[in-house]
C-alpha cells in the first residue's frame, strides 16, 4: 500500500543520500566541504526545531535557548574539567531537555498558545543571553575560547588538521536526526503530535494527553538542538552569550524549516540546501560585486536582507514551504487522476427528494 511504501521510501532515500554524502568530500576542496558542513548543520538544527514547531505545532522563536545550553555545557565541561565533548554533549542535551520540561510545563500549564508562546520562548532566550553575560562560570560576555590543537582528536571532537572529520561528525548527526524524524512521522508519537497541531480539543477527545505530548515534543527538540550547539562550539572553538543565545541563532534555526516546509520530513534539508549556498553566493557577490552592483562592495548585511525578503515571499506565496507546496501539488495531481477514473467529482450523496417516513423507519424490526 502507498502508506507502507511511504515509510520505506523515506528510509531508502535517506540510505542513498547518506551513501552519496559519505563519498562527497572526495570530490570537494576544503572550502566546499565547509559549505557542506554548514548545510548539514543547519539541516540538523532545522529538523530538531521541526519536531516541535512543525509537527507538534508549537512554534518556537527562541530555540537559541536550547542551543546555547548545549553549547555552554559541553564547553565548560571540556575547558574546566577535561570532559570529552561527546559526553559533554549528552550532559548538555540532558540539561536542555530538563529546561524544556520546565519551560513546556510552565507555558502549557498557563495556556500559552500561538504568538504568546512564540514571544514567550523569544523572551526566555533573551533572558538566558543576558543572564549568561553575568555568569562568571561562563566567562560573562568575554566568552570561552577552546584552546586550539594542531592534531586531530576524535576523543575531543576537535580536528586541528583534517577539516573533513568535522564533516563526518555532522553527517552522523544529520543522519541520526533524519532517522528520528522519519520514524517519528510514522509513529503514534508523530500522529499525536500532528493531531495536537491541527486541533488540540479534538485530539484530547480522542484520548491524547495533550499536555504530556507537547512537553515530550519540546524535550526531544531541545535535546537535539543542544547537541547541535555542542557540535558548533567544537567546530568554531569559541562561544559567547550572543553566539549561543542570540536572536540570530533562533532565526537561522527556524529559517530552513520555514522555507523548506514545516511538518515535512525533507523540508529542513531542502531549506538548508537552498539557503546555505545562497548565503555563500551572496557573501561572494558582496566581496567582489559585478560592476552594476559595485555599491554593495564590502557591505555587511546583504545576506540577511535577502533572508528577510525570502521569508516575506515564502510566507505570502508559499506558506507550506518548498517541500510542502510540492506535496500539495502532488496531491492535487493525484486527485485529478482519481477524478478522471471515477468520472465524477467526489461527493457524498446528491439530494433529490426530501426525507419520507419510510426512509427513516428502521429497515429491520427489533
Amino acid at each position: 500500500m502507498a502508506a507502507i511504501k511511504g515509510i520505506h521510501r523515506n528510509y531508502i532515500i535517506l540510505a542513498v543520500l547518506t551513501l552519496a554524502l559519505l563519498f562527497l568530500p572526495l570530490g570537494l576542496n576544503q572550502f566546499q566541504v565547509n559549505i557542506a558542513i554548514f548545510i548539514l548543520y543547519w539541516a540538523y538544527l532545522g529538523n530538531a526545531w521541526n519536531i516541535m514547531g512543525g509537527y507538534a505545532g508549537q512554534f518556537s522563536f527562541g530555540h537559541a535557548a536550547f542551543f546555547g545550553i548545549g553549547a555552554y555545557t559541553s564547553t565548560v565541561l571540556l575547558v574546566d574539567y577535561g570532559v570529552s565533548p561527546w559526553m559533554g554533549m549528552l550532559v548538555g542535551a540532558g540539561f536542555a531537555a530538563f529546561f524544556g520540561l520546565i519551560l513546556g510545563f510552565l507555558f502549557f500549564q498557563f495556556g500559552l498558545k500561538g504568538h504568546f508562546f512564540a514571544l514567550g520562548t523569544f523572551a526566555f532566550a533573551e533572558m538566558l543571553r543576558l543572564i549568561a553575560g553575568e555568569m562568571s562560570i561562563l566567562r560573562t560576555t568575554i566568552g570561552i575560547q577552546i584552546p586550539p590543537i594542531r592534531t586531530d582528536s576524535w576523543a575531543n571532537m576537535q580536528f586541528g588538521q583534517t577539516g573533513t572529520n568535522y564533516y563526518f561528525v555532522i553527517l552522523g548527526f544529520f543522519v541520526v536526526g533524519m532517522i528520528i524524524t522519519i520514524a517519528l512521522a510514522n509513529s503514534k508519537l508523530g500522529y499525536y503530535f500532528m493531531a495536537i497541531r491541527e486541533d488540540e480539543d479534538a485530539a484530547a477527545a480522542l484520548g491524547v494527553n495533550t499536555m504530556v505530548y507537547k512537553i515530550i515534543a519540546v524535550m526531544i527538540s531541545s535535546a537535539l538542538t543542544a547537541m547541535g550547539g555542542s557540535f558548533f562550539i567544537q567546530f568554531f572553538t569559541f562561544v559567547d552569550p550572543a553566539l549561543a543565545f542570540g536572536v540570530a541563532v533562533s532565526i537561522e534555526i527556524l529559517l530552513r524549516p520555514i522555507i523548506g516546509g514545516t511538518g515535512t520530513v525533507w523540508g529542513p534539508f531542502a531549506g538548508a540546501l537552498l539557503l546555505t549556498p545562497l548565503e555563500e553566493v551572496t557573501r561572494h557577490i558582496v566581496r567582489e560585486p559585478p560592476p552594476f552592483l559595485s555599491f554593495i562592495e564590502g557591505r555587511a548585511g546583504v545576506d540577511v536582507m535577502l533572508f528577510g525578503i525570502l521569508i516575506i515571499i515564502v510566507v505570502i506565496y508559499m506558506p507550506d514551504g518548498i517541500v510542502g507546496t510540492l506535496i500539495k501539488q502532488w496531491d492535487r495531481l493525484r486527485r485529478g487522476r482519481q477524478r478522471s477514473r471515477t468520472g465524477t467529482e467526489p461527493t457524498i450523496a446528491t439530494p433529490t427528494q426530501p426525507l419520507t417516513d419510510e426512509q427513516i423507519k428502521p429497515t429491520t424490526e427489533g
Binding site: 512554534f59 522563536f61 510552565l106 498557563f110 495556556g111 500559552l112 500561538g114 504568538h115 504568546f116 512564540a118 514571544l119 514567550g120 523572551a123 526566555f124 533573551e126 533572558m127 543576558l130 543572564i131 553575560g133 553575568e134 532565526i251 527556524l254 520555514i258 554593495i296 557591505r299 555587511a300 548585511g301 546583504v302 540577511v304 536582507m305 533572508f307 528577510g308 525578503i309 525570502l310 521569508i311 516575506i312 510566507v315 505570502i316 506558506p319
Partner: protein
Amino acid sequence: MTLTMQRRRMIGGAVLLIGAGLWFALQFGAIMGWLERFDVVLRQAVVTGILVGSIFGLVAMGLTMIFGVLEIINFSHGALMTVGMYAAFLMYSQLNIDPYLSIFLNVPLLFVIGIIVYRLVIHPARDAPHHNQLLLTLGLSLLIENLLLVIFSATPNSIRLPYERGLVNFGLFAIEFPIRLWGVTIALPRLAAFIFAVLLTGVLYYILQFTDLGRAIRATAQDKDGAALVGINVDRISAITFGIGTACVGAAASLVLPFLAVDPVAGNTFNIASFVIVVLGGMGNVLGALLGGLIIGLAQEIFGVVFMGTPKLLSVFVIFILVLFFRPQGLLGRG
C-alpha cells in the same frame, strides 16, 4: 455595555489619568521631598523612568493599535522606528531642520511608509496563521535593519542640540537647562520628549475617542465582521491604522534623536519593550499602552539602580514572563 456607557468609562479614565497627572505635578515637590529620604540615584531613576516611559508609551500605543485592528504583532515596529531616526537625523544633518520641527515631517513620512508596508507586505498575508504573520514581520524587520546597515553602515550617528545646555528663552520665561531639582537632573531633550509624547498621546486618544475615524478604528478592533456590516471599509481602516501606528514611531524617533545614537539596530530596545508593554497593558488597549510604558520605563531604571551592572533589559523580560503567566489579558484588559 452601550456605547455611551463605554464612552463615559473612557472619558472617566482619561479624566482620572489627567487628574492624577496634574496632582502628581502639583505634588511633585512633596513627592521629591519624600523621595529625598532615598538615594538621589533612585530619585533620578524614577524621574528618568517616567520621562523615558512616556516615549515607550507612545511607541507602544502605535503597536497596540495595530494589534487591535489587524491582530498581528508587528515585529518590525522597532525597525521602522530606526527608519524614522535615520530620517530625522538626515533632516537635521543635511537640511538643518531641528528635530522638534522635523517631527511634523517625520510623522507624515512614516505614516506613508506604514501604508506602503501594509499594502506590500501585511495585506497579502492577512489569511496566514498567526505565527506566520509574526514570522512575516520578523522577516520585514530583518530586511529593514539590514537595508539600513547596507546603506548607512554600522557606525552610530548622534546629534547634540546646541541649545540643550544653558538658558532657553521661552518668551515669557526662561529655564536653565539641564534642570536640577531635588538632586535630580532633567535634561532638555528628555523633558521635551516627555512633553511632546504626552501631547501626542493625548491627540491620538482624542482622535480615537471623538472622531469618526477613531470610532471606525475602534469598531474594527472590536469586531471586524460587525464593522464591515455597518459599512466600514475594513481594509482601508487597517491600512490607516498601520499608518498611524508607524507614524507613532516616527514621532518617537524624532523625539529620541537628540539623546540616543542612531545605528541600524537602534530600534531594537523599543521593539522588545513595546511588545512587552502591549501585552502588559492589554492588547489593543491604548490607555494600557501608556500605563504599561510608564511602568516599563520605571521598572527598567529602578532595576538598573538596584541591580547595578546587570542589563536593564532583563527586567523587561522578567515582567513579560510574569504577565504572560499571571495576567495574559494585561492590566487593563483587551481594548
